[in-house]
């Protein structure tokens, strides 16, 4: 009996070890898409409705309708609109690998490449940037926060990996934590940015990236730290939204 329990714990520990720091090598072993063709069609249609309706179930229902399904079809998505948000996050993260050729040509240092990947990823939120705080609020719900933090860590890993930074200044955890922090704060900043072409956001990003070197000394190797930052900023945002 207890041996069964131990072995389960051991398996969990072992998988955690092998899963860290890289969950996969994006260029060589991209795992198959977790979405069916039907789901992809519905999600893509639903995202078109987000600017008008927001990150709410209505957008998902309209996506089902657009694709010739029923209003009831939305129930297949167990996490409701969070499934739509996760689809967008997954899609845009895995899209970054397709930019590698161009970015390798156009940017020189790993730092510049990482900056460029951040910008490309942030730009993907542009079509519904006014609605993005709603998405962040959903991501920050207690039932969603661990998936959200995990996705953020994967994005960070992906960007470091694609940027080809082999420097040993940072261990994986520190790099993951620092880029996650930079990305999430910039993402939040972008939702409030009215400057032309989001110029202020890119400047904000540059200042954040410049700070990364200093973060090294203040950070432990910790993803809890990321979770904390993520949660703190989301909660801050939620209280701001609540105040209107």
């Amino acid at each position: 009996m207890s041996s069964g329990r131990f072995s389960k714990a051991a398996i969990r520990a072992a998988t955690q070890l092998t899963n860290s720091p890289r969950l996969y090598h994006s260029l060589t072993h991209l795992p198959p898409s977790p979405y069916t063709a039907t789901q992809i069609r519905i999600f893509n249609s639903a995202l078109n409705h987000v600017p008008d309706h927001g990150f709410v179930k209505d957008s998902l229902v309209l996506g089902c309708r657009d694709q010739g399904y029923l209003d009831s079809t939305h129930a297949v998505f167990h996490n409701g609109v969070f499934d739509l948000i996760q689809y967008h996050l997954y899609n845009e993260r895995t899209r970054l690998a397709s930019l590698k050729e161009v970015i390798d040509l156009e940017e020189n240092s790993p730092h510049d490449k990482a900056r460029r990947y951040c910008i490309e990823r942030l730009k993907a939120n542009q079509p519904f940037i006014e609605r993005w705080p709603e998405a962040l609020a959903v991501m920050g719900l207690p039932s969603n926060i661990s998936s959200s933090v995990k996705e953020l860590a994967e994005l960070s890993d992906e960007i470091w990996y694609l940027s080809g930074d082999k420097s040993s200044d940072f261990d994986w955890y520190t790099r993951r934590a620092s880029l996650s922090a930079v990305y999430s704060t910039t993402e939040l900043y972008m939702t409030q940015d009215n400057s032309p072409d989001f110029n202020n956001t890119w400047q904000f990003l540059d200042r954040q990236l410049a700070n990364v070197a200093n973060l090294k000394t203040t950070l432990g190797s910790t993803s809890t730290w990321v979770a904390f930052t993520g949660m703190a900023s989301l909660n801050l945002l939620k209280s701001q939204l609540a105040r209107g």
């Binding site: 039907t38 399904y69 029923l70 209003d71 009831s72 129930a75 297949v76 167990h78």
Partner: protein, 310 residues
């Protein structure tokens, strides 16, 4: 009947602790030993002689099961609500509410009212909830539910119940005796939503029922199932098994003086496939699922499975 229920409610406080104590002393050890053996043998579905099916842990000829199941539910039709309370630790109402809010039924702006089929609907618990949801959340007073069940007594109770609701005129709710495995009076491609709550584990041939569900749903229609499931946390599982095997039959006896029927109810839960296996059965019937295909409720005591006909 009513007086019996009242008596039970009054007696719960004083008698339950005694039940627990007696169980601890007399039965728990031998029962847990039996459970381990039965768990190890849970693949017995494969070894079962041809033409037989499970009735709880007893194998019976398939032709007999339907009658046996019918008897179980006839004998408990009026008190099974209390039984549900006991088996779900009192939270089946929360699960049902969650189930209905998750499928979120009702006509939406620019959309059509829904045709909903509630299978193994019994006394209409889920059906009334769905109609209330459609009316109150979507201001939809047209969506209809057809409640089907193999047992006319259960449906009779439901019909009686409907007379004291705002659906008394029968324009939004109707009742029809139907075997879920066949659904012979329900046309192909006719339903937006198929719900089955705490019913499917009683079916003799679950794949046949899933096939029928697929047949009657419109393309894009949703199959939604709420059912007792496998607890995914071993310590809690042990406690729940003790509770369900020892305490629940005793409670059943108190409630309906029909220990065998309740033993069946509990054993049918134990025999029902785990979440992953059932999700695969749903896909095998032609449905598409999203993610794992299910959501666990209360550490897996129950689960909601959803499939869509594409």
């Amino acid at each position: 009947m009513a007086s019996k229920i009242a008596r039970l409610a009054g007696s719960r406080k004083s008698r339950l602790p005694a039940v627990f104590q007696q169980q601890r002393v007399n039965r728990s050890l031998s029962y847990s030993a039996t459970r381990l053996v039965e768990n190890a043998d849970s693949e017995s579905a494969i070894k079962r002689p041809q033409g037989t099916t499970h009735f709880g842990f007893k194998d019976v000829p398939e032709s007999e099961k339907e009658t046996l199941v019918g008897e179980v539910f006839s004998s408990v039709a009026k008190s099974y609500d209390i039984m549900n309370d006991v088996m779900s630790l009192g939270i089946h109402r929360l699960w049902k509410d969650h189930f209905v809010s998750k499928i979120d039924p009702g006509r939406r702006p620019g959309g059509e009212p829904l045709s909903i089929l509630d299978v193994a609907g019994g006394t209409g618990d889920i059906a009334f909830r769905m109609l209330d949801w459609a009316s109150e959340v979507h201001n939809d007073h047209q969506t209809k539910v057809l409640v089907t069940d193999i047992n006319a007594d259960m449906l009779g109770e439901g019909k009686k119940r409907s007379l004291s609701t705002k659906y008394a005129d029968g324009s939004r709710i109707s009742f029809l005796v139907q075997n879920a495995e066949v659904l012979d009076s329900v046309p192909d491609d006719s339903q937006d939503l198929y719900t089955v709550a705490f019913g499917i584990r009683n079916f003799t041939n679950i794949p046949a029922a899933l096939k029928s569900a697929h047949r009657v749903l419109k393309p894009g229609g949703v199959f939604a199932c709420l059912e007792f499931s496998k607890v995914n946390f071993s310590l809690f599982d042990m406690i729940y098994q003790q509770y369900s095997f020892n305490v629940i039959p005793m409670m059943g006896q108190l409630i309906a003086a029909d220990r065998d029927s309740y033993q069946y109810l509990i054993e049918s839960i134990q025999r029902f496939p785990d979440q992953e296996t059932f999700a695969q059965m749903i896909r095998d019937a032609g449905f598409e699922t999203s993610g794992s295909g299910y959501e666990n409720l209360t550490m897996g005591i129950a689960a909601i499975h959803i499939g869509v006909k594409v």
